[in-house]
Amino acid sequence: MIDTSFIVAAARVDTGDTAWMLCATALVLLMTPALGLFYAGLVRAKNTLNTFMMCVAAIAVAMVMWAVVGYSLAFDGDGALIGGLGYVGLHGVDFQPRDGTTIPHLVFMAFQATFCIITTALVAGAVVERMRFGAFLIFAALWSVLVYAVLAHWAFGGGWLISGGTLDFAGGVPVEMGSGFSALAAALVVGARKDYGRQALLPHNAVYVLLGAGLLWFGWFGFNGGSGFSTGNPSVLAFTNTLLCPACTLLVWFLLDLLRGRQVTAIGAATAIIVGCVGITPAGGFVSPGWAMLLGGLVALPCYAVIVFRPRTGVDETLDVLAAHGVAGFTGILFIGFFAEASWNGVSDGLFFGNAAQLGDQALAALAAPVYAFGATFLLLKVLGNLMPLRVDDYEEARGLDVTEHGEEAYPTGEGAILVTPEAGIEEPVPVADPA
């Protein structure tokens, strides 16, 4: 048999592109702890660590699953629905350039891995403050393969959406709609927090939220700017649009806040940064800077509406992943269909520039991704729920998951804490009122 791998190897690795992609990969990985900070600020103080730990755990679980099987299913071959098993265990993923790029296959895999990680962490936002940590780990491991890898194959890896002409620059389909609509399903299956709708459940640290949003934005330059896999024009365009679009979202969000409550809110601003970054994610390399600014303003409207409306329902989709990611990603994907401009992206025009077919391709993705993400996540959690409890019990939920799941507090005072010396060993706790 003739080994054809040498033909592929003839493509050259570009040092500049590789240097940028190494940086971009690190930038995207930073987004996951940043998301942890963002989420931790939005929950009550007693669940700070558990919430942050869900994001940290996503790094561990999703990365391992990605290396073992997820990457292969997403990026091996161009099957319509799912990739092959050729890269299982990173077999054959080495220094040769990945097809169609000028960067080593290893870097390509690592960059895509960070996407899988952040998306898995995003879904946690729907179930914080009540889901068992162990159950979440198992859910995250399965979700990163059964939902993320499949959607990534459809939109990036040669699946039916990308081969059908759908444009998705940096992950409107797998990352944003994938996480947003999965979050809705997860919230429905796991159920609302027991105090939801009875008590005011307020964010405990708005500074964490703003700092987390700022760090997410910073990381997003790698997320969008790296999705051209080079330092070429699409990357430059996406990078700059990642600056322009969220700035416009912020301004429009301020305006909406003013109209609704006469005051501009800080947590609203943090949310606007996320919404703007999400909106430009699918469109970044396809629309001109001017249209990117319009998208920034436009994407604020549906997301703001959903964020205002959602708490009035019985659905405790706690940190509004659906609004900030699902709806914003949906808007960005459709926006490409209207305003993509071949003179800027060198690929395709949208409806506005005479190519109505592009809008059809985009609409298909905007329909298929939510349906698959919602349906698959719903089924997955229903099955898991029959095998193990998904939630902590009422007492643990009331006490807070930091103490009950991790045996730590985010803000320990040390008052009343008695040092257990290593020599003495850890004694079994004994009720003081009932000494043995």
Binding site: G407, I418, P422, P429
Partner: protein
């Protein structure tokens, strides 16, 4: 006229507030305290340091009421604060010598009877 002091779990604060509201007990003070009432010590680990935490966060209600309201107040604290586990808290009822409403100078029962603004 009694001072009813109720020490309850922080996570039951909202339930107690609801129960007091239903009993039409309107005036109270609330403070966050730490204490120990015989529950299990909690073990926490930070890197190599393992500690037993003997003090639990609690919420302390102080409610001055006229005699007809003493029992309803106690009932509300019990109903709102009870989980059935060790650590639900205590209620102390102590006599009150004198109460003065600062705004009007009203004393005793008049001073502990809420006014509707």
């Amino acid at each position: 006229m009694k001072l009813v002091i109720g020490i309850v779990r922080p996570e039951k604060t909202n339930d107690v507030l609801e129960a007091l509201y239903r009993s039409e007990v309107r005036g109270f003070s609330l403070s966050r305290v730490e204490g120990h009432g015989g529950e299990l010590d909690r073990v926490e680990t930070y890197r190599g340091t393992t500690v037993k935490v003997g003090l639990e966060d609690k919420v302390r209600f102080e409610i001055a009421v006229s005699d007809p309201f003493v029992q309803p107040t106690i009932d509300a604290l019990c109903e709102g604060g009870r989980t059935g586990e060790v650590g639900d808290g205590k209620i102390f009822v102590v006599p009150l010598e004198r109460v003065v409403r600062i705004r009007t100078g009203e004393t005793d029962d008049l001073a502990v009877t809420p006014v509707h603004a």
